[in-house]
Symmetry: none
Subunit: 141 residues, 4 copies
Amino acid sequence: MKERERDVMFIHLDFESEEPIYTQLIHQIIEGIAKKELLPGDPLPSVRAMAADIGINLHTVNKAYQHLKQEGFILIHRQKGVVIHPEGVSKADATYMEKVKRKLRPFIAESICRQVSEEDFLKQCQELFSEFKKDKEGDAK
Amino acid sequence: MKERERDVMFIHLDFESEEPIYTQLIHQIIEGIAKKELLPGDPLPSVRAMAADIGINLHTVNKAYQHLKQEGFILIHRQKGVVIHPEGVSKADATYMEKVKRKLRPFIAESICRQVSEEDFLKQCQELFSEFKKDKEGDAK
Amino acid sequence: MKERERDVMFIHLDFESEEPIYTQLIHQIIEGIAKKELLPGDPLPSVRAMAADIGINLHTVNKAYQHLKQEGFILIHRQKGVVIHPEGVSKADATYMEKVKRKLRPFIAESICRQVSEEDFLKQCQELFSEFKKDKEGDAK
Amino acid sequence: MKERERDVMFIHLDFESEEPIYTQLIHQIIEGIAKKELLPGDPLPSVRAMAADIGINLHTVNKAYQHLKQEGFILIHRQKGVVIHPEGVSKADATYMEKVKRKLRPFIAESICRQVSEEDFLKQCQELFSEFKKDKEGDAK
DNA sequence: GTGGTCTAGACCACG
DNA sequence: GTGGTCTAGACCACT
């Protein structure tokens, strides 16, 4: 559909999206972790390499990496390079669940206005969960 | 405990939020409709009145109204002014559900990374649905 | 479709349209003349009556009538009231055709972009012409 | 012989016109596309550059661009900037043809009143179509 | 009074 | 540098 997209590793960006590129990159990497395509300790390309691979600006990659580091998804060693956090991300706490709820509210409100039943909405969520789980099984990479 | 907040009608804005004011306003009005606080045909304040009430610029209100009009939530009637769309918003279609799913994906991915179980996530959604429904019951206004 | 519309005589207004009410009224009356529902010399309701009938402001009707008078579609006698111009509207001149062409250009440009063939576009025009003619035949009112 | 006119690229605005500047700009760009002066993928000046070039406010340009983006004529690409939609605008559907017909009706009605024959009217349309096509032929740019 | 348009200047996020 | 947001003040058309 879209006119130009880049595919490197499993990174898939949409340069026409409203969503900033650096957040797209953050989400793609988090999805990779969720799908177990990226396992604790796995290396990630350096800022330079990633930027060159997917054809974006260094600063953009750096911004994404800094954010991921901040949130505990990755570690940035000056020598070992960038790796997925070996001990996994910190578990969800009440604060996190509150944040999710706050972000979810507008979607649920609009869905109610558009007569989406609670069941249908939950089904969408379940489908998404399945989407992440199915890649996990039998993936011994 | 934010520095500046305004409360008018049921509109509650957070001027410190990253979220643009106009989108906050959009979401608040959609939530009002979802909660049946705003019923089809109900009038909304004029851009000027709303802007004065909540202490923001009229252009910001106008931007929100234009978006809501575009999305079919409100009508701008030459005589009655701004009103909640009398026939309700158009029901969700496949395109809408796809959009929801696309927006939901990052939250679910991160939740999985943070070891939120599918059950817990769904429970959050259900709570949000309850939040909208409870205001509805017994509201014979 | 629309939530509220008024029907008086053959006047049909859409209060939610972008098009100002007074221009809608002008167009409706011109269409009436084109369809021979309104013949030269036929009376039109007074400003007051028309305004009351279709539920709009006096000024709005007056603005429409003044425009129609200016363009030669109607005559406004202080005593005989408002009548369709007995001698018909002045025939199209080069200036008029230029105006039509100027107004038509954007529609044709967009239609070309949207791959509407010249034949299809002309067919639409022909259909509209037919629409006006069919009311004419056999109408001995 | 208007007082103030600006000519940049092929953009030609009439500041004395009733038609809002931003719609004039929209129409000019659509005409450029229709005439193949602007081809899919071609870049458009940034809002600031365009505003400076044609001597209007950048917000006015932005409004036009937003509308064109909304309608699918252009894309706002995070890297390439503003470009003509590479895949062309979506083809006309029934809804679009209805809109055209609705907009055309008043012109045809008035033309009938002014005794313009169907043939003459269609000829005007054909001339406009030719106007757009002639620029296309032999343009191997 | 309303909304629509245009201008203008400012700040910020993004790349 | 870009576009996005917010503010502000002005004028106009419409009702």
